[in-house]
Assembly symmetry: D2
Homo-oligomer: 277 residues x 4
């Protein structure tokens, strides 16, 4: 006999663009939403009995209807509204709402922001994840694809060497990464004011830190974020090391004083940690 | 004061191609490898002290050197050899080796397999993950990007309807998915003979099952996999529902007897479960 | 005064899946279609006058309606049917239909092909492009994403060296590429029987050729394709050189007898040519 | 007998990052470079004779060496320097250098730009292509992945209807696109001062234009670019129509006053034109 240990279902990749026309300047809310439910749905799997299986198509419809019914100021608030809706459905024990938010910025025309025209701001995106489970509701927010690079104040030396170590020590290298950060708000937070402050703390610390390693900078960034916001209880950072390899120009009779690099995609170092108060 | 709750580092995306020339027919082993370590590395993060920080560049070198020293018959065995190597490094408590394996098949020339020429078999890839932690070593293998579609024996009806439900019931739809499966071997398994048998069980069950839902088919596939191999203790399946939407041709005076579909990317249903004995 | 030199518009990325249920075994036709029109549409651009502008949404609808009305045996024939339709629209001078075809293969169940269940065969895709212009109609077919690799019979030496050359000569290297081929059919061809024969010629020549360079193998493949089909007048091949770099293991006291490679993505050699009779 | 009609070879995807440390603020030059040569290389293809075949590996080395030797102010100038170098190689008749430039912006720390820390500005990239052929040298520059959206002043109506037309007319829709623009400089231009001015003309026109169609806006943008720079002779725009589809909320008893949209990827309208003086 087999046992159904865990199961989850839902709709992923729901693309929602809402235009808020209530002010003198339009506002674009551009979200990609995932809805995932857990609960008493064993008979759907075991018996092919769909009596308890709310269609994932309905989840999609629900997102659009609730987006019309609610003003969306912050993705986190909308995620909680979706959580509340789905938590009330029969059989549901856990609801998880994930949101990826793409920022748009007003175009500047004649030096002033245009009220109706926008540019996609770049690869950087905001994330949030609201989870409702029997024990608690949890909100995790973050930023992803924030690509940073520094040309000074980055070293890597003093490391152990074994029989397979060939890396040269350096006191001066290019450091580049694509930041993915996620932070957990205190339980029952209902306002989420600190997003920009946390981002600023991450970015300024990356810039100013005298880095001995990616790990070292990650830790400093995490501490700065915790200091910047009293509303968060922990922060997780995921920093790929996007290696910039110094090109050996000596075969051509040229030196390379930390100037000419190959940017590589693979392989990459990957450094992750969670820091809490 | 902050607390460093969790941290992990390593090298990801190490591309290794090994040519085994020992037989009359060459064999291509094409792997993308991730190495991740956890352990007593707090001072690297807190103090910028690299004395305990084996460089990720050394991890990459190690993969290539061990690939030369060992015959690679199965990715799982090579993952365990890498685990054993890194578990012996100072400070290390947990090692995780992830491998993605791309299959190559001999080209057919004049109806016979060519000894030295190959085609990349497709998007389907094999995965494995070996984890060494103080308590135990664990091997999880799998397959990903296995894209399947059936044109009969798939229904979805009898589901509950709420105020946002518009989906029509159907006894006959196109069902398409991209299978990601991962199964856990019994502790201390050192041979991994059942990969093809598990894949066959998954694929044949998908084809033959009278599906009432993706969930229903997922469960049948999982049970078939467990029946096919006594060496695995559980299996997790992740089945996105790649919706094929019937086109409404009535505005053009045409019927559409389950024949003309739009294949859509977003949004998609996502069904996941773990089944054990 | 400005001049509108050239303009073209249409719908791209029309996803069509047709299930042919007419035989004992179902057949999947999976196409991604682009429609592009040129013609007397200047006033649309200059004056914002849409009186001549057939909506691209109508092009999409047309594809689905014609897919219902016509049996689709070969993508080339369907492309010509679409060409004929749009060439009759007011103001149109040139029609271009591009089709990307994804192959599906029946699943094998108990050693026999299943009538209703399929696997996506892989990354390899068929292409065709039908162009109707006042002077002539032209059909170009091809294959793309056909990834090949050989472990023997590939050399590169005897090349000129300048002050920036560091590459070592070799009589034995791994050669890997992703073939994109396009061939032009004789004018007014209406049957397209030779697709598999041309593919076989390309693949078998890649396997058997004693290669002095990618260029050398490209030329042999092109000649073999022309020999395999009397219906084509030329063939263009685009062969990226997916470099497999031999790893230097000497720092670890190991040799590397053409066995351990890094597969790299960037940069890549790119070799292209057109060969005709 | 076959005929070798056309052939070209080179190195693509050469990733170059140069740090200019000559001023108080560092400057990042981040380029991806393609080198392509045509010339008297038939014997390489036909005979496997590499005596005339400068290795593509040498092209890569050359890019790095010249990047060290020359100050890179503008990608166009560097492209011309590469063109001049390769045009002098034996047998070469045509050189084409393509460059994709990723912009980096200084991080703001305490409200001021940081001298050594940068953020990747987004998906938008600058392009240029320098072509040296026996008859002339030609420089084409551009911008790509510039994603724009407007929430007002966009209509599409008055279009012809045929038997497959279902699209509703609208005087108010969301218009979104990803601009790819390329403009040709006058022959023998050696300074390229107008990049930002052309971009501003494109963006401001997109924002301000009363659009009757993508075609209509494209034409206005092209005219504005030609007016903004006397150094360019033509401009080509490629504007995909990233459809934002109004969601039908009437099944849920809700109206949708141009507020809730699905952003779709496929299919998409595609509008292209070249406008010259």
């Amino acid at each position: 006999m087999s046992q159904l240990n865990w199961h989850r279902y839902g709709k992923a990749g729901i693309r929602l663009v809402k235009v808020d026309r209530s002010g003198p300047y339009d506002r674009i809310i551009d979200l990609t939403i995932d809805v995932q439910l857990e609960g008493a749905f064993e008979s759907v799997y075991r018996d092919g009995d769909n009596a308890s299986c709310l269609p994932t198509d309905t989840m999609k419809n629900t997102v659009y209807a609730l987006a019309r019914q609610h003003r969306i100021e912050r993705a986190e608030r909308f995620a909680l509204q979706l959580v509340d809706h789905f938590a009330g459905k029969p059989g549901v024990s856990t609801v998880e709402i994930g949101i990826l938010e793409r920022p748009w910025v007003p175009l500047s025309v004649g030096g002033r922001p245009h009220p109706h025209a926008f540019a996609h701001a770049g690869a950087e995106e905001w994330t949030c994840r609201a989870t409702h489970a029997p024990e608690a509701t949890r909100i995790v927010s973050g930023v992803t694809n924030l690509v940073l690079l520094k040309t000074a104040d980055s070293a890597f030396d003093g490391f152990p060497r074994d029989e397979f170590t060939t890396l040269a020590e350096t006191r001066d290298r290019v450091l580049a990464t694509s930041v993915t950060a996620t932070w957990t708000y205190r339980p029952d937070t209902r306002r989420f004011p600190d997003r920009d402050g946390i981002r600023t703390a991450l970015v300024e610390t990356f810039a100013e830190h005298k880095s001995e390693s990616v790990q070292h900078t990650l830790h400093a960034m995490a501490e700065a974020a915790l200091a910047a916001s009293g509303d968060i209880v922990d922060i997780t950072l995921r920093l790929p090391n996007r290696h910039h390899v110094l090109v050996d120009l000596t075969p051509f009779g040229l030196d390379n004083p930390n100037e000419i690099f190959v940017a590589t995609e693979q392989p990459f170092g990957l450094i992750e940690a969670t820091v809490s108060r």
